[in-house]
Symmetry: C2
Subunit: 223 residues, 2 copies
């Protein structure tokens, strides 16, 4: 039986690299983008584009009205997106986001009888995001083994986070080596409808610094 996986795809740089990694291992990938009240749809379009470009089996998009519980500049229009890098937990933190994303991916993996769920968390992303840490991923892997029919049958679905220990520069070098075109991805917290990045928000700055450190030309299209 061919290896099958659900790959969480945000449209950003990290998750696109994860998909490239999974595809390089000849895994049949079903990609999932979750719309949780983001302010723009450029990243959802990017996810669709990346999924097709990398030969995923199919791409699905799911909606969750996380805006209803508030608490993040990414989902609450009343909060401004900050334009500086912080070491505290940033205001762009979405409550329990990765728990929710992994739950949705786990449900779909169970329906598909997939063996794995891939997610693009990494140490660099953990500038205060508790749910990007390896302890969190390990705990969810444990949970996944108990939560599903597959787990009960002795075939637990596993969570894979291949970027966990990589820096942004290492991720960019990895994706570049795998032939990934990062111009197709959108990282900016406030990209235009056409996918142009602001160049000033936290996500843009981390991305710019990553390309510089990787020694790879930055293909990002800025406003």
């Amino acid at each position: 039986m061919a290896q099958r996986a659900v790959v969480l795809l945000s449209g950003g740089l990290d998750s696109a690299t994860v998909l490239a990694v999974a595809r390089s291992q000849r895994i049949a990938c079903h990609t999932l983008a979750v719309h949780y009240g983001q302010r723009h749809s450029a990243e959802l379009e990017a996810a669709r584009r990346v999924s097709a470009a990398l030969g995923a089996v199919e791409h699905r998009q799911m909606g969750v009205d996380l805006a209803g519980i508030g608490g993040s500049a990414l989902t609450d229009p009343a909060l401004a997106v900050p334009e500086h890098v912080t070491t505290d937990i940033p205001i762009t933190y979405v409550p329990a986001r990765n728990t929710l994303l992994l739950s949705l991916a786990l449900g779909w993996a169970e329906v598909l009888d997939a063996q794995e769920v891939f997610i693009g968390v990494n140490s660099m992303d953990y500038s205060g995001y508790p749910d990007c840490r390896s302890e969190f991923i390990a705990a969810f892997d444990q949970l996944a083994g108990l939560a599903t029919r597959a787990g009960v049958s002795g075939r637990p679905i596993h969570i894979r986070a291949p970027l966990q220990q990589l820096s942004k520069a290492q991720i960019i070098r990895l994706g570049t080596d795998l032939g990934l075109d990062y111009a197709q991805t959108v990282s900016c917290y406030q990209a235009t409808a056409d996918g142009l990045a602001c160049g000033r928000c936290d996500a843009c700055r981390l991305r710019q610094t990553g390309f510089q450190a990787a020694g790879v030309p930055d293909p990002t299209r800025y406003v």
Copy 2:
């Protein structure tokens, strides 16, 4: 500081009992109903009714398009609702449902700075539902401690499942002792818009058997 909690409320018998338990402990309860593509809205109306009747601080409803990933008679219109009790994992099983419900509740609990999340899983419900077992709840409690800012700050949000070890009859006696009016709840998988139960599906049969075993008159309104 007053104790604050998020209580998952489906509109059914179990979660209404959980809310009655939490309210009896004078916990300030924020109730959450999740709409995940159910066929009818009678249970969502019931959740709203029960929340108000038991004096919750507020009631919220969130939508998730779980139907997009298929795999359950509750969310996939192409699958029929079975009318017999089975010992295997039933077709009404929603993939990763409790993982998803707890994720949403966890996110809201974090925003509210609540200390606990209540869920109405119990041993009786585990007629093959892996995510109703106590091992699953313990694993999610562990995850919650790692997933949130509160957990990082040494104040992990805990998962409480006060019905875990109770039979349906014991649950009904508990709620009745706490003054809960079960006529306000809807358990039926295919209730009418007015909240009338079919009396034939798995959920109706479990409920009927529960009232009989508890020696409490069944207040359910049937078609």
